[in-house]
């Protein structure tokens, strides 16, 4: 599934569309610890987190992640959105929490039960 399709299915807020709308998602990762994300994610994953400060953009960019979803309806500060724009990162949001968002992303990506991550 492409990032753009996930946005539509989950009705996500787009803070910054970045350059990854047409990237094919390989999986997802949910964590609020930056070096956990640094160590464990694979390229083209979507990252679900409650962190909304500027350092999440560098993490997503360095790990070639497809998108970030910020949970709990938080709106990132304008400098975070500007940084996402500068780095081409797709920055999204949801009112929902991490558990439900991860469950929905899983359903979208691996609904046929073949999800391997």
């Amino acid at each position: 599934m492409k990032v753009a399709e996930l946005i539509e299915k989950l009705n996500l807020t787009v803070f910054e569309s970045g350059e990854n709308m047409n990237r094919e998602l390989t999986g997802g990762y949910a964590s609020d610890l930056l070096s956990d994300v640094m160590g464990k994610t694979k390229p083209d994953m979507v990252w679900i987190t409650l962190q909304s400060h500027v350092n999440i953009i560098a993490v997503a960019s360095l790990k070639d992640l497809a998108a970030i979803i910020i949970v709990h309806g938080q709106v990132p500060p304008s400098e975070v959105i500007e940084k996402a724009c500068a780095e081409g990162i797709t920055l999204l949001g949801t009112e929902s929490d991490t558990f439900l968002t991860a469950a929905k992303v899983y359903q979208c990506l691996f609904s046929d039960g073949t999800g391997t991550r």
Binding site: L33, S35, M38, G39, P43, A58, L62
Partner: protein
């Protein structure tokens, strides 16, 4: 090719900018994307460690035909027990730093996993020198 960066302790707003810059340079050299990721993950963790744990630092990157050498030298409290610091989960990060999602104690283990060679020399009370080397396979 040589690249130099300065890091300011406590400056989380700019943490990771040196690593992001290095990534652009390595991409322009058409290196393997896996090697690029491993290299910038290592440098990022070392860069953030200076921001989180030290007072100031310098990064020197030397890109050779067959290897990428990164040396991060900081002035700071140093690391009194290297073996302990290398353990997954060990962290002395402050509560404020932890709230931002740093301080999982996974940075140094990440560097070990994402580099071909890593060496730390530290003088408690004065600073730390971290050397990272990644092999370029062509």
């Amino acid at each position: 090719m040589d690249l130099d960066y300065n890091i300011e302790g406590g400056d989380f707003t700019h943490a990771g900018e040196a690593s992001s810059h290095l990534k652009k340079i390595l991409k322009s050299l058409n290196l393997d994307s896996g090697l690029i990721r491993r290299t910038v993950v290592s440098m990022y963790e070392a860069e953030v460690n200076v921001v989180a744990h030290a007072w100031s630092g310098d990064i020197h990157v030397n890109i050779r035909p067959d290897q990428i050498h990164i040396t991060i030298t900081d002035s700071g409290p140093g690391i009194p027990d290297l073996e302990l610091a290398m353990q997954k989960g060990y962290s002395t990060a402050s509560p404020a730093v932890r709230e931002m999602g740093f301080g999982a104690g996974m940075g140094l283990p990440n560097i070990k996993e994402n580099s071909d060679f890593m060496d730390i020399t530290s003088k408690p009370g004065s600073g730390t020198i971290m050397k990272i080397v990644n092999q370029i396979k062509r």
